[in-house]
Amino acid sequence: MILTAAAIAAARMSGDITIDPFEPGRLSPNAYDWRLSEQIRVCGGTLDAAAVTRYDEQTIPGSGMILHPRMLYLGVTCERTCSARYAQLLNGCRDVGALGIWVHVSAPLGHTGHAIAWTLEIRVVRPVRVYPGMTFGKLVFLEVHGDRDSYQQPGAKYAATSGIGISRLHEELAPADPGG
C-alpha cells in the first residue's frame, strides 16, 4: 500500500519518515515532490563494473546546464530521506519525463533504513537544460509486510550517503586486470 500525502505528513510528525529539508507544499496526493541539487558528476569514456568510475565534477549554475544524450550524469536530490518503517520508491515526475529525462537507471528502490540523499542516474533523450533546485520527481512510501530488517546493517554500501555516490560494485568483483 502506498501512503497518501496525509499519511506521509503524519508519519513525518511521528518520526517514521524523515524528509530534510521538508516543505509541506511539496506533498502531492501520494508522494513528496523532490528537487535536483546543484552537484553533478559527468561520466564519459568506457566504464567497468570492476573498476572505480572516473568522472568530472561540476556545479549546475543558476543559468542552467545542458545535458546531452549518450552521457551519464550522476546527480543528487536536495533532500535527505529516511524511514525505518517504510520502503521508498523514487521516480521522475511527469513534467521531467516529458522532457525526455530519466532520473534513475532502473533502480528506484530505497530499502527500509536508508538514510540518504539519493544519487540520481540521469540520462536524456535530447539535449535539455536543467536548473539547480528544480522539482525533478516523486518519492513514494510503501508499507512493508513481515519483520523488518534495516539497511543500516554493517557492510551496506550506501546506507548513509549525503552526496553523490559512484558505484561501488567493484568492491564485489575481483578486477579483471589487476594493473588497470
Binding site: G44, L47, A49
Partner: protein, 178 residues
C-alpha cells in the same frame, strides 16, 4: 505492501516464494539480489520487427567480462530462477549497476504471479560498460496482492536463458491482414 528481507527468507523456506539457488547473503531489507548469467542474445537484423520472430546471436560472457556497447540491446538472464504463486515480483537494477549507467529492464519491471523461471534481462548501457558473469546485477522485490489469483500460464513460463520477444506469437490474424 512490499515484503521485507526477513519475510522473503521465510517465504523461501516455506515455499511461498521459489528462488533457486537461494543464498541468504543476497537478501536485502526489501529485495533479493539476482546475478547475471553467462549468456547474452543480440538481435542480428537491422530492424527489429514486432510482428516477426527476429534472428539472434548468442554470446557468452567470458572470464574477462564483456563490454556492452550503447545503442545495442542485449538480452541477458538471471542465474536464479525466481517466482511466486502468492506475491507479485518486480525486477529492477541495483543502484550499483544504475550508477554505471546500465539499464537492466526496459519499461516492464512487473512480473506475473505464478511465473517461475530465469528472468530475461533487457540490458542497454549508457556508456560502453564491461560486465561480468555472476555479478549481482538486479534485485527482485515482492508485493502482496489482493483479490483471487489466476496463475501465469504464458509463453515464457519455465524460461531458461535469455528469451527474445515472442510478441509475434500473440498477433491475431486480422491484425496482420493488411
Amino acid at each position: 505492501m512490499i515484503l521485507t528481507g526477513p519475510e522473503i527468507t521465510a517465504a523461501v523456506r516455506d515455499g511461498r516464494i521459489r528462488i533457486t539457488p537461494f543464498t541468504p547473503a543476497q537478501v536485502n531489507p526489501n529485495s533479493y539480489n539476482v546475478r547475471l548469467g553467462p549468456l547474452l542474445l543480440t538481435y542480428t537484423c537491422d530492424i527489429i520487427d514486432a510482428f516477426e520472430p527476429n534472428p539472434t546471436r548468442q554470446v557468452t560472457v567470458g572470464d574477462g567480462g564483456l563490454v556492452l556497447q550503447p545503442g545495442e540491446l542485449y538480452l541477458g538472464h538471471t542465474v536464479e530462477e525466481v517466482g511466486s504463486d502468492l506475491y507479485v515480483p518486480l525486477l529492477f537494477g541495483r543502484s550499483s549497476v544504475g550508477r554505471l549507467g546500465l539499464f537492466v529492464e526496459i519499461t516492464a519491471p512487473i512480473g506475473d504471479i505464478g511465473f517461475h523461471g530465469q528472468w530475461t534481462l533487457m540490458l542497454t548501457p549508457t556508456r560502453p560498460l564491461r560486465v561480468y558473469a555472476g555479478m549481482k546485477i538486479g534485485q527482485v522485490m515482492f508485493f502482496v496482492s489482493t483479490g483471487a489469483r489466476d496463475l501465469y500460464r504464458g509463453k515464457y513460463q519455465g524460461s531458461a536463458g535469455p528469451q527474445p520477444s515472442r510478441y509475434w506469437r500473440d498477433i491475431r490474424p486480422d491484425t496482420v491482414a493488411s
